[in-house]
Amino acid sequence: MSAQNLIEVRNLNKAFTVRRGALFSRTTASTKAVNNVSLDIRKGEILGCVGGSGSGKSTLGRMILRLIEPDSGEVRYDGQNLGALSQEEMRGFRRRMQIVFQDPLQSLNPRRTVAENVERPLLNFGTPKAVARRRVEDLLELVGLDPTQSYRYPHEYSGGQCQRIAIARALALEPEFLFLDEPVSALDVSIQAQILNLLGDLQKKLNLTFLFVSHDLKIVKQFCDRTIVMYRGNILETGSSEAVYREPKHPFTRDFLGTVLHVRGDMRWEQAAERAEDLEGTAKLGGSCCPYVGNCADCFEACRRSAPPLIEIENQRNVACFLYDHR
């Protein structure tokens, strides 16, 4: 394990099955949510993960936190294989890694005050009540909320403020890693930038490591150091956020970027829209071929025979596409 990596993921797999029938249930369909994914998250970086719905980005993040058990593969956290730990041992690691969800109102307990929500993790890990209360005040101040109002309930706060509360709660146990699962997607545009700035400041101040999942390439480009692009459970491309945005290599990334609507936009999106895939009638891809073969403009014979591996084509730049695989 390289010393600069906080998390190393190796060959992670997860399939979800659909079962029909109560008594003699049988598996009727199986979807590969995450397919043989390997990646490193370096200490102190913000790693972005973009993809459409169903690309497996949330499942990947949850498996890293072991909120979902993988079918196979390994997650190493600070050198320790998390899958090999017992529940009791895992508890020690839980406080080092936390999650912030998309919908802040749903992830806070509506029957508990803000203070009770934020102190819950502290009490769970045995902090005395009086100490926890003082810590809650510091945490609320840290995320820009007024600690004297902490007796209020979450519904009395706006979406952006609730997300601040959720961030305070996630930071209560002084974790070093946060999995941010679309943390600003449910917020208004003017509030999105507030929350992203807050997260960026906290990351620097507390030297945190982030995995930031989003479907919005504009935000990922702005906020993240590196970006991975996912599609149907596969990583298709990785690189610095700048490089992925400026010079997308994989045909999927190019198509995906083409449909992003810009404020000072031209009308290029219209051509991209013609080509865009909406998964209508696309058959479940069985066996071995490139996952994007069904909609790729550049696909050729080799793409239908086997799935291209993720290979390094330049320094820090990995692409899973035969266009770049000259072996």
Binding site: G52, S53, S158, G159, G160, Q161, D188, V189, S190, I191, Q192, A193, Q194, L196, N197, G200, H215, L217, K218, I219, K221, Q222, F223, E242, Y245, D255, F256, T259, V260, L261, H262, V263, R264, G265, M267, W269, E270, A272, A273, E274, A276, E277, D278, L279, E280, G281
Partner: protein, 331 residues
């Protein structure tokens, strides 16, 4: 301007409020605008700005109570909507006004096939059609919204279709009765970017080819830029600014519009910290006395806090509700 033959929709001084135990929330406060053939009008605003209540008011769909129409007029295709009875409205909704909503699954009935629902809608609004003709029209409507395999879609239940497909079935249903006006309330917000682009292109082409006017509610300026011809910016229940899309986005007049555009990351510019609007949107139960945006505005003066700005017309086709444009007071 309101006598213009092409005007399909005109709204004058609309005021819609919600009467709650905590007080009266004026969600839409003195809103006026009009819409002509070939136009796509985007109403942009954040949550609580009044954009969805405006859209619902156009169809008289705000639940009363707690909602209440306090005043104003809505004229669509010569009909005074707010004066119509519930029975008369049933003929207007779906026939004169087509609508699509944010959650595509919520506007379809989960227990019936797409064909059943399309045919039902067609028969309800076109009594002269027989079932066979309605079935053919349903199939045709699906082809028009871009389905390559309409028969499979016709036979499907909503849960067998993806979100994007459901939204297109909803759109097919809204367009099948040849409405005079389409109201689209954040129809692409819940969809992936690729599917969003596909649906926006469909709407844009339809409006261009048939002249269909569209009221498009959104919070996304990228979407506005992509399809709208004209924009209405709402904040705190007031329309703050109006203008043609290119003009308004290139040179926004209202400080709120300016700040809103600045707060969107521009990936083509170099890395830097994002600018954002401080503070929170106004509480409509106790809105600011003057300009709704004054508490968050960097140009606000005492007058802004005391007095609601008038509707100024600094140049042809551009309107703004801001004291900075009160030229008489400045002289």
């Amino acid at each position: 301007m309101l006598q213009d033959a092409d005007v399909v929709l005109s709204v004058r001084n609309l005021r819609t409020a919600f009467v709650t135990p905590a007080g009266v929330a004026r969600a839409v406060d003195d809103v006026s605008f009009s819409l002509s053939q070939n136009e796509i009008l985007a109403i942009i605003g954040e949550s609580g700005s009044g954009k969805t209540v405006t859209a619902l008011s156009l169809m008289k769909l705000v639940p009363t109570p707690p909602g209440k129409y306090l005043g104003g007029e809505i004229e669509i295709d010569g009909k005074n909507i707010l004066a119509l009875s519930e029975r008369e409205l049933e003929d207007v909704r779906g026939k004169t006004i087509g609508m699509i909503f944010q959650n595509p699954r919520a506007s379809l009935d989960p227990s019936f096939t797409a064909e059943f629902q399309l045919v039902e809608t067609l028969l309800r609004h076109n009594p002269q059609l027989d079932r066979t003709a309605a079935q053919a029209a349903a199939r045709e409507a699906l082809i028009e919204v871009g389905f390559a395999d309409p028969d499979r879609v016709l036979a499907s239940y909503p849960h067998q279709l993806s979100g994007g497909m459901c939204q297109r079935v909803g759109l097919a249903m809204a367009l099948a009765c040849q409405p005079k006006l389409l109201i689209a309330d954040e129809p692409t917000t819940a969809l992936d970017v690729g599917v969003q682009a596909k649906i926006l292109l469909l709407l844009k082409n339809r409006s261009r080819d048939t002249g269909l006017p569209i009221v498009f509610i959104t919070h996304d300026i990228g979407v506005v830029r992509a399809i709208a011809t004209r924009v209405l910016v709402m904040y705190g229940g007031h329309v703050q600014e109006e203008g043609a899309v290119e003009d308004l986005l290139a040179t926004p007049h209202h400080p709120y519009t300016q700040a809103l555009i600045r707060s969107i990351p521009d990936p083509d510019e170099d890395h830097g910290s994002m600018t954002y609007i401080r503070g929170e949107p106004p509480n409509l139960l106790a809105p600011p006395k003057g300009c709704r945006f004054a508490p968050r505005c960097e140009h606000a003066t005492g007058r802004c806090r005391d007095e609601v700005p008038a509707w100024h017309n600094p140049e042809p086709g551009r309107y703004v509700r801001c004291h900075l444009f009160d030229l008489e007071a400045r002289q």
